[in-house]
C-alpha cells in the first residue's frame, strides 16, 4: 500500500528538487538557444570553414552519451594540473557550473541541427525576393530567414525542451539535489519505490505535458498562418 506519511513528509524535499530541476532547465535552454542561432547560421553556410567545425561539434555532442560528457567535465577536468591551477577552477569544481556547461553544449548541438534544418527548408522564393529588394545579407537573416525558420522549428524545439527536461535527471549523478536525487534519497531512507521514484515519475509526467501544452499554445499563436497538416506533430 502507499505510505502517505512518507509522501507528505517528503513534499518539501521534492519541491526544492523541482525548483532545482526547473532552474537547471531554464538556464541551459536559455544559453543553448542563444548559442544555437549563430551556430545554425554557420551550419548552413556554403563555406567549409564555417559549416565544418559546427558539423563536427554537433556530430560529437549528438554521438556520445550525455552521462559520459558530464563525467568528462565534472570528474575529468581535475586530471589536469593546469586546469586546477587556473582561475576557471573556481567555476569548474562546482557541480552547478559543470551541469550548466554540459547541458548548454548538449542542447545547443541538438537545437543547432533543428534550426539549421528549418533554415534549409526556407522556400527559395523568399530568399530571391529579399535579394531582389536589395536587402543586405545580415538583414536577410534578421528579417526574413530567422523569423520564419524559428517559427517553423517550434514544434521540434518543444520536443527538444522536453528532452532536455528529462536530461536534467543526469545532474543527480554529480551531487545536484534535483527531483531524481531527492527520489533516490527518499528511496534509501524508506526503501519504498512508489513513494520515491513513483512520485518523481508523476512530477516529471506533469512537467512534460505542461511544457508540451505551453508550446502548443505558442504554436497556435505564431503558426496560425500554416495549416495544421503541414506542421508535423510535436
Amino acid at each position: 500500500m502507499i505510505d502517505w506519511v512518507v509522501i507528505t513528509s517528503s513534499i518539501p524535499a521534492f519541491l526544492s528538487g523541482l525548483k532545482i530541476t526547473l532552474i537547471l532547465l531554464a538556464l541551459s535552454c536559455a544559453s543553448g538557444f542563444v548559442l544555437s542561432i549563430p551556430l545554425a547560421v554557420a551550419r548552413v553556410s556554403a563555406q567549409r570553414r564555417f559549416w565544418l567545425p559546427v558539423f563536427l561539434f554537433t556530430y560529437i555532442m549528438r554521438g556520445t552519451p550525455l552521462l559520459v560528457q558530464m563525467f568528462m567535465v565534472y570528474h575529468g577536468l581535475a586530471q589536469f594540473e593546469a586546469v586546477r591551477d587556473s582561475f576557471a577552477w573556481v567555476a569548474l569544481k562546482s557541480p552547478w557550473f559543470c551541469a550548466w556547461l554540459v547541458f548548454t553544449l548538449n542542447t545547443s548541438a541538438y537545437t543547432t541541427e533543428i534550426f539549421a534544418g528549418a533554415l534549409k527548408a526556407t522556400p527559395s522564393g523568399e530568399l530571391e525576393a529579399a535579394r531582389s529588394l536589395g536587402l543586405t545579407e545580415s538583414a536577410i537573416y534578421r528579417r526574413i530567414l530567422l523569423p520564419s525558420a524559428l517559427r517553423r522549428a517550434l514544434p521540434q524545439y518543444g520536443n527538444e525542451v522536453v528532452m532536455m527536461m528529462h536530461a536534467t535527471a543526469i545532474a543527480s549523478t554529480v551531487t545536484l539535489v534535483e527531483i531524481t536525487r531527492v527520489a533516490r534519497d527518499v528511496y534509501y531512507n524508506h526503501l519504498t519505490v512508489t513513494e520515491s521514484f513513483g512520485v518523481a515519475a508523476v512530477i516529471y509526467f506533469v512537467l512534460t505535458f505542461s511544457i508540451a501544452g505551453l508550446f502548443k499554445l505558442v504554436e497556435n499563436r505564431v503558426l496560425r498562418h500554416i495549416p495544421p497538416t503541414a506542421r508535423g506533430d510535436a
Binding site: V68, H75, M165, R184, F205
Partner: protein, 229 residues
C-alpha cells in the same frame, strides 16, 4: 597501454554491446506488440497501448530505470513470497535490458505503427483475397515492406537507446562507463578514460548510422525518390 586498462575497457565495450543488442530485441518485441495493439481495432487494447506510449514518453529514462529496477525487484519478491518461494535477486543485466527494452519499445511502437500504415491497404486485402492466413500476410507482405518505412525512426531510436545504455552503470551493471570509472579512480586519469569511451560510443554511433543508411538504400532500391532540386 593505458596503464594496462585497455582490455578491461574493451571488455566493458562487449558488455555495453550485449546490453544494447538484448535491449533492442526486447524493444522490437514490445514495439511490434504495441503497434499491433494500436492497430488492432479493439478499443481496450488500443487504449492500453496508448497509455503505455504516453507514460513512457513523459518520464526520464533514468527515473524509469530506477523505478523498474527497484520496483520490479520488490513486486517480484512479493509474488514469490506469496507462493512460498525463496528470495530472488534480479541481476542488473536482466533489469537493465528489460527496462531499456520496455522504454524504447514505446518509441518503436510509434515507428512500427507509422510504417505499417504507410503500406497501401490494398496490399494486405489482396493477400487475404489470395487465401493467405493472417500470419502469412504479416510475414510475406507487411514485414518486408514496413522495413523501408521503419528504418529512419528505427535508426533514431537505436541511437538514443545506445546512448541511454550508459545509464545502466547507475543501477550497478558492469558496462563500459562503469569500467571507465573504475580505471579512472585507480589511475587518477578520469579525463583520459571517459574520453576513450566517448570515442568508442562515437564509433558505435557512426557505424550504426552508416550501416542502417546502407540498409535503407537497399530496401528502397525499387522506389524512386521525388527530386526536389
Amino acid at each position: 597501454m593505458l596503464d594496462g586498462y585497455l582490455p578491461a575497457i574493451l571488455g566493458g565495450l562487449a558488455s555495453t554491446l550485449s546490453v544494447a543488442a538484448t535491449s533492442l530485441a526486447i524493444a522490437c518485441l514490445f514495439g511490434m506488440l504495441g503497434a499491433a495493439g494500436k492497430l488492432s481495432g479493439a478499443r481496450a487494447i488500443a487504449a492500453l497501448a496508448n497509455i503505455y506510449t504516453t507514460l513512457i514518453r513523459g518520464v526520464p529514462e533514468l527515473v524509469l530505470m530506477l523505478l523498474i529496477f527497484y520496483g520490479g525487484q520488490i513486486a517480484l519478491n512479493a509474488v514469490v513470497d506469496r507462493l512460498g518461494g525463496s528470495h530472488i535477486d534480479i541481476d542488473p543485466f536482466t533489469a537493465g535490458t528489460l527496462t531499456l527494452g520496455f522504454i524504447f519499445g514505446a518509441f518503436l511502437t510509434e515507428t512500427f505503427r507509422g510504417a505499417i500504415l504507410a503500406i497501401p491497404r490494398g496490399q494486405s486485402e489482396a493477400a487475404e483475397a489470395f487465401g493467405l492466413t493472417s500470419w502469412q500476410v504479416l510475414r510475406r507482405i507487411t514485414l518486408p515492406q514496413m522495413v523501408r518505412h521503419a528504418i529512419p525512426g528505427f535508426t533514431n531510436s537505436w541511437l538514443v537507446m545506445l546512448k541511454a545504455s550508459a545509464l545502466v552503470s547507475i543501477i550497478g551493471l558492469d558496462d563500459m562507463v562503469h569500467r571507465a570509472s573504475l580505471a579512472a579512480s585507480a589511475t587518477r586519469k578520469p579525463f583520459t578514460f571517459y574520453a576513450i569511451i566517448a570515442i568508442l560510443y562515437l564509433l558505435l554511433t557512426t557505424v550504426s548510422i552508416l550501416g542502417l543508411g546502407w540498409l535503407e538504400r537497399r530496401y528502397s532500391l525499387g522506389v524512386r525518390k521525388a527530386d526536389l532540386r
